[in-house]
């Protein structure tokens, strides 16, 4: 039980790596920096594996297994311990994060090989791992918030890693500020939670919540408020409508960063948080609905934008947003397990996609525009195959990881306890679009004839330390979902069962359907419903698959069969095209509605009026007063010793008087 009792070890490892590299690494050769960074992360991963082994021996009653390391804040009855805990959910997240993180570290050693600030990059990366794991293992909202903000910080640092590029800097700022808006809600949510449960410790909060009467659609209470506020934070962090705008710009950062932070781990923090707070959300149907709606809308909306993007990373960015939307949709319809499942698979294939894209960019010598690529299939086979696998996975082609998870979600959205046909519909369409733009990406990049100057750019496969992570992730993208496979043939869903305690523990008594849904799904496979074969067929020919295939074919038709079609199409519906191409002008709208007024107010009111007028007025005024009184008072400094003597005498007389008075009183 070494690690269970010393969870902090897992955190300290990457932190140590970050510290060592950050403080000492400046003049070290890259080898040492690599060694430090990777060893720290790999050790962390091994530690997690060990942790999982020990965890598997725990009795259910011992879960969640917590450790309280030191008393951090104490103010009145507000007491925050630096406490960590492990339960099934945490385990999943830890595995995903540490594993993907490790792979991406390895990949980065290849990708960043020619970059400056090498030690800085890895120090940040390790630091990110530290914060992410803190976030995941936190046992109370405050510690979670630390991780939450910490990853935000690292994201800022890494997006702005090339701080000589103006666009990178502003992208970093944008990411930070936009996220702040959500975090504001999050913070308020925390406060409200404390006000309500008089504790921010998960266990305590949930126990409290369990005793409270759940809100209903008609009657919304404090639980709803908390849930919505927290969800605001999730929106900001996980780039949902309407705060998604920062994520595409965040692609300014190095590709491994995009892969690790803006695809695999950080952006999923929101989903994790919602899943973690499920007892609260389950009791706030309105909030649930909101989550579902936001998720579905985002899924659909981002997908549509994805269609017209030409920058390979932008496409992936929007697809990330939309996939996150799916996860929230899953949570929104009460299928937390499905959401987390999708989170995990997504971590695999989206991480892979980004890494592959990175490899492509690497191969193209920095070129990101898909329309300047093409026909790379032969030159960089490893990248091609792995990317294809990932695409199939994300598109939800049966047998690949994405299929299982997405199917779960849509299934829950369609036939789950909180089923909502409209959300389901949006999800389905989004899925179709997803597969379309993903295959568009594949076809544009790897098929057709090269659209780049083959003499200038020498396409070459990436080095081993980049391709090996690709292969590993490809493997996972393909088979990562099979844990849930038996479910299709009517068998049990291992993943869901594994997570079941987390979500069932505090499930609202009113909404037993939560548990019942599992039972139901089990029951469905039980035999009341059509047999396993039918089940399999049903899910294999289910709407998701159909739309996926349609999207695939459409993409094929447009970009392989009739390469000139897209242009004509764009001409035909020019308005719509430009609208979508410009991402619905959301950035411009925000600029017009929020940023510019804000700037105007800051300049004309806060700066010129408040600061220059009032504050400086006060300061200078006091200075003037002091000066004036001083110039009067200094007359006392006559330079004539006898005057000074007289002053002394005056003082003496005063004191004596005082003494006499006092003594008079005493005696």
């Amino acid at each position: 039980m070494l690690l269970l009792n010393h969870l902090w070890i897992i955190l300290v490892l990457p932190l140590a790596g970050a510290a060592i590299n950050g403080l000492l690494g400046k003049n070290w050769p890259k080898v040492i920096v690599n060694w430090v960074a990777i060893s720290s992360v790999s050790l962390a991963f091994l530690a997690v594996l060990e942790l999982v082994r020990e965890f598997s021996h725990l009795a259910d009653s011992q879960i969640p297994y917590g450790g309280n390391y030191f008393n951090w804040i104490t103010a009145g009855n507000f007491r925050i311990d630096f406490a960590l805990q492990v339960d099934q959910l945490t385990v999943i997240m830890l595995l995903t994060v540490s594993f993907v993180g490790m792979l991406i570290h390895i990949y980065s050693t290849g990708y960043m090989a020619h970059e400056g600030g090498y030690y800085r990059f890895f120090s940040y990366l390790n630091l990110f791992m530290f914060f992410m794991m803190t976030l995941v293992m936190a046992a109370n909202l405050i510690v979670m918030f630390v991780g939450w903000e910490g990853v935000g910080l690292c994201s800022y640092l890494l997006v702005g890693f090339w701080f000589l590029k103006q666009s990178a800097i502003s992208a970093g700022k944008k990411a930070f500020i936009t996220t702040r808006i959500g975090d504001f809600g999050f913070t308020v949510g925390i406060l409200l939670a404390f006000w309500t449960f008089s504790s921010v410790d998960f266990g305590a909060m949930f126990r409290q919540a369990a005793t409270m009467t759940p809100d209903t659609m008609s009657h919304a209470g404090v639980l709803t408020a908390i849930a919505i506020l927290l969800f605001l934070g999730a929106i900001g962090k996980s780039a949902q409508l309407p705060l998604y705008v920062w994520l595409p710009d965040a692609m300014e950062g190095p590709t491994p960063v995009s892969a690790l932070i803006h695809a695999a781990t950080m952006v999923t923090a929101g989903v994790y948080m919602v899943a973690r707070m499920n007892p609260v959300f389950s009791r706030a149907p309105i909030a649930m609905l909101l989550v579902g709606i936001v998720g579905a809308l985002t899924a659909f909306y981002a997908a549509t934008i994805g269609i017209c993007q030409t920058d390979i990373k932008k496409v992936l960015a929007y697809s990330t947003i939309s996939q996150l939307g799916y996860m929230f949709l899953g949570c929104g319809v009460g299928a937390y397990a499905a959401g987390i499942f999708h989170l995990m698979t997504h971590a695999f294939f989206k991480g892979l996609l980004f890494l592959a894209a990175g490899s492509v960019i690497h191969a193209m010598g920095g070129e990101q525009d898909m329309f300047k690529m093409g026909g790379l299939r032969k030159q960089i086979p490893v990248t091609y195959w792995s990317m294809l696998a990932a695409t199939l996975a994300i598109a939800g082609i049966p047998g690949f990881a994405g299929f299982f998870s997405k199917d779960e979600i849509l299934d829950a959205a369609g036939s789950g306890p909180h089923a909502n046909i409209w959300l389901w519909l949006l999800g389905i369409i989004g899925a179709g679009i997803t597969s379309f733009y993903m295959f568009r990406l594949i076809f544009l990049t790897f098929f057709g004839s090269p659209r780049y100057d083959e003499h200038k750019t020498h396409v070459h496969e990436s080095p081993k330390n980049m391709t090996i992570p690709l292969m590993i992730l490809a493997f996972l993208s393909i088979f990562g979902g099979w844990v849930a496979a038996p479910h299709l043939v009517g068998g049990p869903n291992h993943f869901e069962e594994f997570l079941h305690p987390v979500f069932a523990a505090y499930a609202p008594t009113a909404g037993v359907e939560q548990g019942a849904s599992l039972a139901g799904s089990a029951g469905k496979s039980g035999g009341v419903a059509p047999s396993g074969g039918m089940e399999l067929l049903h899910s294999l020919t289910g709407p998701p698959v159909i739309v996926a295939v349609i999207g695939l074919l459409l993409a094929w038709w447009l970009y392989i069969k009739r390469p000139d079609a897209p242009a004509q199409l764009a001409k035909k519906m020019h308005g719509l095209y430009t609208l979508v191409y410009n991402k619905y002008y959301v950035d411009e709208i925000y600029a017009a509605l929020i940023v510019r007024p804000l700037l105007w107010i800051s300049t004309n009111v806060l700066w010129h009026v408040v600061d220059e007028g009032i504050i400086e007025g006060i300061v200078n005024g006091s200075a003037h007063v002091a000066r004036g009184s001083g110039s009067k008072l200094r007359e006392l400094q006559s330079g004539n010793a006898r005057s000074y003597a007289s002053w002394v005498v005056i003082g003496a007389v005063g004191v004596t008087m005082l003494l006499l008075g006092i003594l008079g009183m005493v005696h």
Partner: protein, 102 residues
Amino acid sequence: MSVVPVSYYLVLSGILFGLGVVAFVFKRNIITIFMAIELMLNAVNLAFVAFARAHNQLDGLVFVFFVIVVAAAEAAVGLAIVIVIMHNRETLNVERVNLLKF
């Protein structure tokens, strides 16, 4: 042999102190101003001794001792300063030594 009440000494010391203060304000010559200070110190010493006698304790005398020592030190430095002033300003009148002012 009858004894002089201690309060007599105290009154005398009070008067001397007051005169010292008056001299301190009244005199213009740096050296005499110094003397005024010495006068005040002496008055205080008298009070000390008187109180020592009154309570029949030695501490008062010890204090006087220290006061005398300090006065000696003070005189040494002070007079050195006076000499310097005289060299630089050619006067001992404090009212003429008035450059340090607003």
